[in-house]
């Protein structure tokens, strides 16, 4: 079992979709929300995922496929 901390960003058209609920249902992943903000045009959620590494990987690929942006917690780490 591993843990991964990520940030999901939802654009306006995706804000109402239960992506995090479905992530927990479709994959063997426990989702633990730590901080979030939902505005009229955009929303973001910072959360921890717990599960097997391949399962988390597949789950994140699925989240990305829905149009939700997935980023590492602390922003981009590749620096110029």
């Amino acid at each position: 079992m591993g843990k991964q901390r990520v940030k999901f960003t939802f654009e306006e058209t995706l804000v109402k979709q239960p992506v995090i609920y479905e992530l927990g249902q479709k994959f063997k992943i426990v989702t633990n929300i730590r901080r979030a903000e939902v505005g009229e045009e955009v929303g973001w959620v910072i959360l921890e995922l717990e599960g097997g590494d391949p399962e988390i990987q597949k789950g994140l690929e699925w989240v990305s496929s829905t149009g939700v942006r997935v980023d590492p917690l602390g922003g981009d780490v590749i620096a110029g």
Binding site: R34, R35, L73, G80
Partner: protein, 425 residues
């Protein structure tokens, strides 16, 4: 010794010991260093600073690592030059250039890496790592060579070879990752959790970022312990921008600015604003990667990540960790943010070179073009004391300006020379 009390979450305020941590375990907010300013105010003075080395470590009492034996390749204390030529061109009579392109590995990254590497050794690490497309890789590799510890540098597999030579020469372990920008990002974040390495901008980030404060200290010291009316700063993650502001406010609160009485830092050290600090902070981003400038211009409460697509690769951070904090600094300082059109970047490089004899990389082109915009729009008045930060060397991005090479071709004879030369005139 470092005068620090620990780390504190910028979001929820929870406190942690000074360890290799970068996020709050409770809310996953970013952590920042908490200083013991009461003790610092007793030991730091103009005299103590001026007796120090000609590097960032002259400000050791204000940095979060032990400055008695730092990993120092003499980063910092770079020239502050009165820019008469560029100033004349832009109608600015009181313009200065902070030329940070002359650091040992040719970018401002030496400041932050020197602090991170020193702190990493304090923590007992024997491997220092980073993910980079250029400047950071060079600086990490150089500091590790100096310290005699292992450097591991992750690069995207499609990175041009020329970009990484400046790092490879110091013999780090180079890991070329065959994946997208996002995949490399994610991999490195996971590796930082799994391996006992000091990733300079991940688990060392709270300490690393503080190195940029020295860009604020130096400008104040070089101006005779006073602050400029405006600073013009390039921005990627937003960290350097916020730390210059923090540096100015620390000097004011510690009573180190001429004619300014010190004051308490209050509860939240990192957002303190001393009323004597009236410098307007102007951020410049390249249009192809300008999430902070966009959020500021559109009055957004959050910074939306973007996919970078810019000539200014050293500013190409699509998901800036300090974006929201940078916007707060812009607002507090009554500054601005501007997305420089991509087509103006090379013009900025050429303008600086032709007027001041300084060859900067694409990030510097962004900054100078942004300065031009500020001057033309009247945001900076002709007599305002203005400092523009040039943070990287032009030899890093020569491909961006190859068009300037147009020699006069002649035969090896005086006649041929004169025909061509007088014709060219």
């Amino acid at each position: 010794m470092a005068f620090i009390n620990g780390l504190k979450c910028r979001e929820c305020g929870r406190e942690y010991p000074a360890e290799p941590l970068n996020v709050c375990e409770f809310c996953f907010g970013p952590l920042e260093v908490v200083y013991d300013y009461a003790t610092i105010s007793e030991v730091v003075s103009h005299d103590s600073i001026e007796k120090g080395p000609l590097s960032i470590w002259r400000y050791k009492d204000l940095l979060p690592a032990n400055g008695d034996d730092p990993v120092d390749i003499m980063a910092g204390f770079t020239p502050l030059i009165k820019a008469r030529g560029l100033g004349k061109q832009l109608g600015l009579n009181n313009l200065y250039i902070k030329n940070d392109s002359v650091n040992p590995s040719f970018s401002f990254k030496d400041r932050v890496v020197s602090v991170a590497a020193t702190k990493a050794l304090e923590f007992g690490y024997t491997t220092i790592a980073c993910a980079s497309t250029g400047n950071l890789a060079c600086s990490v590799a150089a500091h590790c060579a100096r310290a005699g510890v292992r450097a591991i540098v992750f690069i995207p597999s499609d990175l041009e070879r020329g970009k990484i030579v400046g790092a490879a020469i110091y013999n780090p372990i180079l890991v070329s990752v065959d994946g997208t920008y996002d995949q490399v990002n994610r991999l490195c974040s996971e590796l930082a959790d799994d391996y006992p390495w000091a990733f300079v901008n991940i688990n060392m980030r709270p300490y690393y970022a503080e190195g940029s404060k020295t860009l604020g200290y130096e400008v104040a010291e070089q101006l005779g312990w006073r602050l400029p009316d405006h600073v013009v700063v390039p921005s990627a993650s937003g960290a350097m921008f916020t730390k210059i502001w923090k540096g100015f406010n620390e000097l004011a609160c510690l009573g180190l600015l001429d004619g300014v009485e010190g004051s308490s830092f209050g509860i939240d050290q990192n957002t303190v604003h001393h009323p004597a600090v009236t410098t307007k902070m102007h951020m410049q981003q390249a249009e192809g990667c300008s999430p902070i400038a966009y959020a500021w211009a559109n009055n957004q409460s959050q910074v939306m990540a973007v996919r970078p697509n810019s000539l200014a690769k050293s500013l190409a951070i699509g998901n800036p960790a300090d974006g929201i904090y940078a916007i707060k600094v812009i607002d507090k300082s009554q500054g601005s943010a501007y997305a420089v059109p991509e087509s103006e970047i090379v013009n900025g490089i050429k303008l600086l070179a032709e007027t001041e004899g300084i060859f900067t990389e694409t990030a510097g082109g962004v900054t100078v073009s942004g300065l031009k915009h500020l001057a033309e729009s009247g945001a900076i008045k002709p007599d305002d004391l203005t400092v523009v930060y040039v943070t990287g060397n032009g030899l890093k991005t020569i491909e961006a300006v190859e068009e300037v090479v147009n020699p006069l071709s002649i035969k090896p004879s005086i006649r041929s020379f004169e025909e061509m030369f007088h014709g060219a005139k």
